[in-house]
């Protein structure tokens, strides 16, 4: 089988100012994942590594650079699934860890459950050795500006990123 990996960095009304950073980030993530595959690594490890790369990158709505809730906080979620045995791991309402996808992977391998949220997900992550980070360290200037823009408009767009305004996208 020819190992293959595909990644995405989010759908929406992505403004022109963010295009270059997003393309650079998705290319890097694909290269990181492919390196694991080409060394005989598993698809599970490859997709986790690719997503970890984008969780580190403020150009993406995940990990560092996540968008903010109405209280100006980061609340993240992630899921991972293994096609061999349909095993799954997922977390939600994660506030103080940089890599929710790695915690989700641990849920897949180390928990009898599929989805852990909030306080329970935090306790599980600490038990598995993940180090919490100050929640404000996950907040980027772009995310803060996006929340302020939302608070001005007061309504959600038809998509995930940006309002459904006619931005520079043709």
């Amino acid at each position: 089988m020819v190992p293959t990996i595909i990644v995405h960095g989010g759908a929406g009304d992505i403004p022109g100012s963010r295009v270059e950073g997003k393309l650079k980030g998705v290319k890097l993530a694909a290269v990181i994942g492919q390196r694991i595959l080409s060394e005989g690594g598993s698809a599970l490890d490859a997709v986790e590594a690719a997503v970890v790369s984008m969780e580190n990158d403020e150009y993406f709505n995940a990990g560092y650079g996540s968008v903010l809730n109405l209280r100006g906080e980061v609340e993240m979620e992630a899921s991972i699934m293994c096609g061999k045995d349909l095993n799954v791991g997922a977390v939600t309402l994660i506030k103080e860890f940089l890599h929710p996808i790695s915690i989700a992977h641990k849920v897949l391998t180390d928990s009898p459950h599929s989805l852990l949220g909030g306080e329970g997900a935090k306790l599980f992550a600490l038990e598995k050795g993940f180090s919490p980070v100050p929640p404000e360290s996950l907040i980027s200037e772009h995310a803060r500006a996006a929340l302020n823009s939302f608070l001005e408009h007061g309504e959600f767009g038809r998509t995930e990123i940006g309002m459904d305004t006619k931005s520079d996208v043709g």
Binding site: T4, I6, H8, E75, C82
Partner: protein, 134 residues
């Protein structure tokens, strides 16, 4: 939201999706990403899917699993992804995107939003894009 779908040398498929959700969301809001079948799905016998977009719409439509079922019923990865994303947008108005790999490594990319950043590597060649028709 970010996501990845991989096929390894043993023919196993895996999918991972991670997100901060939606700007201005209510405290405690949970979207499609942690919900298997909506944000993420993987099955070695068919393929794998990761989705992004308007979360409440994706989870109502079970977008990832919709694409998997279309492939199970004979559609190729690209056609299945397009049909499901366009079907969701037609039925529920809001927009989304999805990336798909079939069990044979065929790629599917489609989005009804204005843009979706994507990249894939196949046979050591890198492909990438963000606008429609790239």
């Amino acid at each position: 939201t970010v996501g990845a779908v991989a096929l390894d040398c043993k023919g196993h498929i895996a999918v991972a999706t991670s997100t901060g959700g939606m700007s201005g969301k209510a405290v405690g809001r949970i979207g499609d990403t942690p919900q298997i079948g909506s944000g993420t799905y993987a099955d070695d016998y068919i393929g794998g899917v990761s989705t992004t977009g308007h979360g409440e719409t994706i989870l109502k439509y079970c977008l990832a699993h919709s694409i998997i079922k279309l492939m199970e019923n004979g559609k190729d990865a690209s056609t299945a992804t397009k049909m499901a994303v366009e079907g969701m947008t037609k039925r529920l108005n809001n927009t989304a995107g999805a990336i798909t790999l079939s069990k044979n490594g065929d790629v599917g990319i489609h989005f009804s939003s204005q843009r979706l950043a994507w990249a894939y590597i196949k046979s050591n060649k890198l492909f990438y894009g963000i606008n429609h028709d790239e």
